[in-house]
């Protein structure tokens, strides 16, 4: 297969993925730092390079509402947003997942107001972690592109039929230009395949009810069905990731480990910081510290067993959260990791950290310090803290 080596930002990569997927409908409203995705995609629509019906609306609430209508009608539907935009969609996100509409959304992680901030953290995406959407995080531009190409297959799978959001870190990835390997349009289209919805409201020969009132009689069963779909999603994400690897050369799973096999100290991170951690690990290994990384790619469904299986071998574990859940305990990632370890019967010293809120930079040295703290924790010189802030100004 002839791959094209290009230079692309995360936003450009996501727009290119959408061009290759050529969805039936996109409904979107602009918001920094995701605006470019739809701006570039609108160019593709204008130039006739996609056949998508692009609906420009007056708010994100309307964007997601239009996506719900279009997906219910059986159209392959996509959108993009960030931060306040995602928050404004909140109400409709639950409707999309509850009605079981396989919408795919690019989401650029950005802090939530107040104070107003346009930079990266995971607060917006984490606030929607219980919305019933599958959530996939990207370390870099390549992963953003690759995960977008897998998202429709996952969302539309008959055992899943659940919406998917693929996220990048605002500005760091969305506006950072990196080397991107793109695959030929025809090969991508073959992989993504034609969308054949099982049920649509427009199929008059097989009438269905969508968005009905379900009270004490069956609401619980609806939620259990979603619960089962999320369980199935784990398997389907792995299947699609494997097939993607066979087709395009890069395999994807629920998690990725880096030098974790023989690691004494393992750091758990998501998104672009996982890459910085890899660079920190390289330096620490030269200093004789056995450092390793567990990157969570898929946050929903949460790969608790897979994470516990990796962390069970560690002497100490650190979890980095780019989100503050104000629980006085730990950020959302650390809380879920700890719950998973408890269920697996794994008792490992675990310290949790909050970092990078509102785009605060995180450097190799910050991450190396976390590993040094883990070493001290393992040696009994330091007690593990929870929700410890990194990079705070004195």
């Amino acid at each position: 297969m002839e791959k094209t080596i290009t230079a692309r930002t995360g936003n450009e990569a996501m727009a290119e993925a959408m061009r290759q997927i050529n969805p039936d409908v996109c409904a979107a409203y602009p918001i920094t730092p995701a605006t470019e995705i739809m701006q570039i995609f609108a160019g593709f629509v204008n130039d006739g390079r996609v056949k998508t019906n692009l609906i420009t609306v007056e708010s994100e609430h309307s964007a997601m509402s239009a996506c719900v209508g279009s997906a219910a009608a059986g159209a392959r539907t996509m959108t993009a947003t960030s931060s306040q935009g995602l928050a404004l969609m909140h109400e409709i996100l639950f409707i999309a997942s509850g009605i079981r509409l396989p919408i795919v959304m690019a989401d650029v992680n950005r802090a939530l107001s107040a104070p107003i901030n346009i930079h990266c953290d995971h607060s917006d995406t984490m606030a929607e972690r219980d919305s019933g959407w599958i959530q996939i995080f990207s370390e870099n531009t390549q992963e953003a592109y690759d995960s977008m190409l897998q998202a429709n297959r996952i969302a539309e799978h008959k055992d899943v039929i659940t919406p998917v959001m693929v996220t990048t870190d605002g500005f760091i990835i969305s506006h950072g230009m990196e080397r991107l390997e793109m695959y030929p349009d025809a090969e991508v289209q073959k992989f993504v395949g034609e969308y054949k919805p099982q049920y649509t409201v427009l199929d008059v020969d097989h009438p269905i009810t969508v968005g009905s009132l379900v009270l004490t009689d069956y609401y619980l069963e609806y939620k259990k069905a979603q619960h089962e779909a999320m369980k199935a999603a784990k398997r389907v994400i792995l299947e699609v990731g494997k097939e993607f690897g066979k087709t395009f050369g890069r395999e994807y799973g629920l998690i990725e480990t880096y030098k974790a096999d023989d690691a004494d100290f393992i750091l758990v991170a998501m998104g672009s910081t996982a890459g910085t951690a890899k660079a920190a690990i390289e330096e620490l290994r030269q200093e004789g510290i056995k450092a390793g990384l567990l990157k969570i790619r898929v946050f929903r469904p949460f790969p608790a067993e897979e994470i516990a299986a990796v962390l069970t071998k560690a002497k100490a574990v650190a979890v980095l959260d780019r989100c503050e859940s104000m629980s006085n305990q730990a950020g959302p990632v650390a809380t879920e990791v700890k719950a998973g370890l408890y269920d697996a019967g794994v008792k490992v010293p675990l310290a949790s950290y909050i970092y990078g809120l509102g785009g605060r930079e995180i450097y190799i040295e910050d991450i190396k310090n976390v590993y040094r703290e883990l070493k001290n924790i393992a040696e009994g010189k330091l007690k593990p803290e929870q929700a410890k802030y990194i990079g705070l100004k004195e």
């Binding site: 080596i5 290009t6 230079a7 346009i118 930079h119 370390e139 870099n140 870190d169 500005f171 760091i172 990835i173 506006h175 950072g176 230009m177 990196e178 080397r179 672009s272 910081t273 890459g275 910085t276 890899k278 660079a279 390289e282 930079e361 995180i362 450097y363 190799i364």
Partner: protein, 194 residues
């Protein structure tokens, strides 16, 4: 930081093309088979305000996603920035390279930047741009100066890639394309000679 990777910081004022220069260089390096990151520093975006942009260029995958702290090369598109911005911040006096667009002498610039490195290069890129492009936009000749000063990318590889980029952007203005290419070469040769 391993030196398999070159880190570059651009200083300019909003509108001078610091980000464009970082992207142009990055794209050309990717065409030449390198791994690259190119990204601007995002603050309030205003014409004339100090801005910075960065490149990382390496022969293998770059995983780090944080700003450049210790650049190997710093380029200053507007020498008046030296009054308000510590342009040499993090730049080694032993191995670092500082390239400043200025009509003034090396000694005058050295006094202002408070940096005593050996590899200070001064070039009047605005004048070169004015003469060749007809506009004092110094970003493309500064890339020429960079390629003349540091061995990261062959000039011809950069010229070929940039010609393609400019041909797309300035279809109706061939004089802009030729002007930019001439300006890049002129700055490259001036640095090579000195």
């Amino acid at each position: 930081m391993s030196k398999d990777m070159m880190e570059i910081r651009w200083h300019g004022r909003g509108g001078q093309g610091a980000k464009t220069a970082a992207l142009l260089l990055g794209e050309a390096a990717i065409s030449a088979g390198k791994y690259v990151q190119a990204f601007p520093e995002y603050g309030p975006e205003r014409m004339g305000a100090p801005v910075a942009a960065f490149d990382r260029i390496a022969s293998k995958e770059i995983t780090i996603h944080s700003p450049v702290l210790k650049p190997d090369v710093v380029l200053v598109l507007d020498e008046t920035l030296t009054e308000s911005v510590d342009v040499a911040h993090g730049l080694s006096e032993e191995t670092g390279v500082l390239i400043v667009n200025t009509p003034y002498s090396k000694a005058e610039v050295q006094a202002r930047v408070k940096w005593n490195g050996k590899k200070l290069i001064t070039i009047d890129a605005s004048k070169i741009a004015q003469a060749n492009i007809g506009k004092a936009i110094p970003n493309t000749p500064m890339i020429g100066a960079l390629l003349g000063a540091v061995d990261i990318l062959p000039l011809e590889a950069f010229m070929e890639d940039t010609r393609k980029k400019l041909e797309k952007k300035f279809k109706s203005k061939p004089e802009v394309i030729e002007g930019n290419l001439k300006a890049i070469r002129a700055a490259y040769e001036e640095v090579k000679k000195s």
